[in-house]
Symmetry: D2
Subunit: 320 residues, 4 copies
């Protein structure tokens, strides 16, 4: 449940308001140069404090606590932790409301009320911080492959409106993976699309994914959709399939887009059910949150894509 | 790679033009009444021969070869096979072309030319037939849960055009799951969305998936998106989230949409690279294929959703 | 439960008196020459009909039903089946007794009476036949590694006595693996000993395993036990550790011994509880069985060792 | 590799001389009362400092860093860490020798020299400390089941001799599991013996395991070996099979014995190969070590047995 991957395998732990959050990374080959400094640029990209971001500020300092010796990976598990420091250690009292759009109600039902609700507990976006660290290591395993994700600019009008009105906005993150050789992916069930989507949907707030022109393709004719091969290395004239045929990379750019719903926390008044009075009431939610967490997500999307691709590339060595 | 699931686990084998295709289903509880007849209605729904479908006709007769005794499951693996009969056992000669839009080139590169290319081999849509059989068994494990998938009608104009011109069409399949209790899903990595998307992207031709109003949600404000709880059993006024918060069912209908690209095989002339002459040329592809395989896919989408949900419901018993 | 392995992965199905038994082998690299003939010598070694063996004679003809094209593996799952033909299709009536020493009672309790009891069902020694076939394929993946198992001769006096008196005998099988390079094994949990023992204990009748002089080592002093390295390729003067240190091969011969209890079926009168009369009574069990199934087991032990080693060697390529 | 279990799943990290060692425990049901104090009695049983034990003294203070809220498990991963404090942070210089009987040479070959050799790195017996903590949690999940392991006294003469002469001794640990219901175990591959042996062989120093009278059984006749059922709840007159038939518990006591080789570190002079001079030489190894680490192992054996049984009991709920 909290472990993902086949050979390059990650195990996540922690809660938003717990002592620390962290990740154990297994299956990283021995001999790769690695230090905490290698993790800082991507952590910085994810960090809070920018435009439309939460005012919770954490140092986000990674501590590698195992698996490194004399500056290199050892082949043993790499454990990376981040201490939680800047949170309010309130004593939570259920006041009759589950926050609209959050996991609160579903988690309450799943865990019979024993889940840690503070700051979203295990469902907090903060859990993506160790994933970014793991993504850095994945990228180091496959240094020739380039991961490049960015927010689609069209959401920015909504972001401005959201900031002005105490509301929130969604967004779309496009990720392009370059220099991935043809032949990567493990059908039938571990296609590139299956594994990438599995990983991406673990990011809080993701509700849709498309590969290439996946959404538009459903309205196309085959003669419009099919990508014509134009050279002996498999390059195609168009890339409607997003670089993937039959679940396997075809040597072109991998392209996928991730759709984030708006941040569920908003300052605006909302209606929801009060389980104490047993009626729908207006509530206002206070606290620190991003007006659009999709803005911080490109590096997270890259991280999860890199974790999947590193795993698949390690597996592909088996057949060689 | 060809096994999927945690407790309710399926293992797929076979190729389009091999002796047979089949599936081994492990983890099905003992004592469930089961016979081949139980599989026939869903197999019939998937069958070829209808409007816009391939002219390859197979009996599609399921043979349960293990795991049943005196009309009930035994707890041992259930093996179901389908013989391949109506195929042309040609001796394949590579004529310089990989079929546009197909897995041929990517598979050739992955398997160094050793993959079975006949009829698409392991990448054939025929591989979904054993999945439909496994889906029937999954549905029998959780009989109170209703799976209902259908094609969105808007693709039909394209289908008509495709049939008339030797082209093909894509389509969108919407699946609704009713009566799923709140609390199903296993975060962090095995969220409902992660597992359903993982399974659905194994279906040949799928290029996008959205849960609830996932695609539209990226352009919404939080005040528009958040679903307000209106009753003590967690029912919400809207269902933008598709019945899933934080990767866990919230007790409302699960809704997701699967986007299929057009069938890659078309009769129309296409351009592609000739690896013998090393230049782009026009080709025509002959053979039997669906003008729109999305039309046959609703029952396949249901099957994979049922396989995921049965697995998760079995796992949920552990916590009770 | 019925799937084993990480990359080279096997899935077993079938029952003693079902239509067929078989195995799906996933993760075998593409391009390995393979036909049914390659499986015959090891199948012959396992076959019934010899001294102290059951009079049930089956053809044991393997049918490869997927995963081979033009005489080579394709990278897709290899399915191998064996039809059950020579069995008595009786209608089983529980007569109050569970056979002593068999899985009958435990299986009845586990499966609430729904398990298939005919001929031992899924617990039959017949299930080792597909394992032997899978072992042949494993051996082909790693042709330079030699697997050599044999029965320890000391049990033969017991076998003679057992045949003369309608009794049965146990036995010890020693397996030696030669030419395995140093560095194979995946600690912490997937040590060579962990994986080999996991696989070996799936063979019906195994109750103990030792690596090297494992049993004697518990009574040794360290100065007697430690194996002194005597050359730059890691060869040791003694091999008390059976070629494994810290769960990893050290380049010497791997040596382990498997302890089989006597065949539970005997013709001699035995006492056991009658669940109809609710008292202990004398019973006589009729049927066909081996006086000492350990005699047929060396090739089974080799097969499971080869399955484990092939998987680990494939995994070891990742680090290279 | 460093993750074990199906539903109740543990992931281990750390090295003997690293900052800390720890374990992430996934799949523990929500709502179980748990604090660090619950872990102390078993940690104390394992602790160094007693007769024949290493002089390295660590506080062995467990820190639960996630997964607990208001004194109960939350259903999220439980992370437990132990800081390493009392070790000598030497700068390791390879002096030509790999310590005889240790994992040093095999690990060097596996990890191409990148493994952390200090104090045995990941191969240290210290790694069993987090396993004992995880075992405590497993025991809390299944409180009615009793785990009782003890050292067989016959090794004590060797221990005395070892202490007197700077040598070391092996030993045998017998473990008895009481109150385990019939029907636990998941054949074909996840039999009780397969899973217990898999787990037990991860303990450093284990070289053999037997269930019931497994070793002796190989020299028995069936009429001697078979355990006669004597009551309607499946109790047997003898327990040669150690409470397991067909890989499934039969309702009697589970009995197994674990064989530990002598501690490889001894003060006595030993011969081994010097990779600098390329010849066999005498060496003396200094450092702190147990004269017989088997003495500290009963609680470790219990922990791993409890981890396996808790996992299987959780899985057994699925069929109910």
């Amino acid at each position: 449940m909290n472990t993902f991957g086949n050979i390059f395998k990650i195990t996540l732990y922690g809660e938003s308001h717990g002592k620390e959050i962290g990740i154990v990374i297994d299956g990283c080959p021995a001999g790769i140069p690695l230090s905490e400094n290698d993790l800082l640029p991507d952590i910085e990209r994810r960090k809070t404090g920018g435009y439309a971001s939460s005012s919770r500020t954490e140092n986000d300092t990674p501590e590698i606590r195992s698996g490194i010796y004399r500056g290199h990976t050892t082949g043993a598990p790499i454990m990376i932790a981040f201490r939680n420091e800047n949170f309010r250690d309130e004593d939570y009292q259920f006041d009759g409301f589950f926050r609209p759009g959050h996991a609160d109600y579903a988690a309450y039902r799943k865990y019979n009320g024993y889940n840690n609700p503070l700051g979203g507990g295990q469902f907090s976006g903060r859990m993506t911080l160790p994933l970014v660290a793991a993504g850095c290591i994945a990228k180091k395993i496959i240094p020739s492959i380039e991961f490049s994700a960015h927010i689609q600019p069209e959401c920015m009008a909504n972001v401005d409106k959201a900031i002005a009105t105490g509301d929130s906005a969604g967004g779309i993150v496009e990720c392009i993976i370059r220099n991935l050789e043809a032949g990567i992916g493990e059908p039938f069930f571990n296609s590139l699309e299956s594994l990438i989507s599995h990983a991406i949907f673990s990011i809080p707030g993701v509700k849709a994914i498309e590969f290439g022109n996946g959404i538009a393709s459903a309205s196309m004719l085959g003669s419009e959709y099919n990508d014509c091969i134009v050279s002996s290395d498999g390059q195609t004239a168009t890339n409607n399939c997003g670089g993937i045929n039959g679940g396997i990379s075809n040597g072109n750019e991998i392209v996928f887009r991730t759709y984030f719903h708006p941040t569920p926390s908003i300052s605006k008044e909302q209606k929801t059910f009060n389980f104490n009075t047993m009626q729908v009431e207006n509530i206002e939610i206070h606290g620190r949150h991003d007006a659009c967490y999709a803005l911080r997500s490109p590096v997270i999307v890259e991280a999860l894509a890199a974790i999947v691709i590193a795993d698949l590339i390690l597996i592909s060595k088996i057949a060689k």
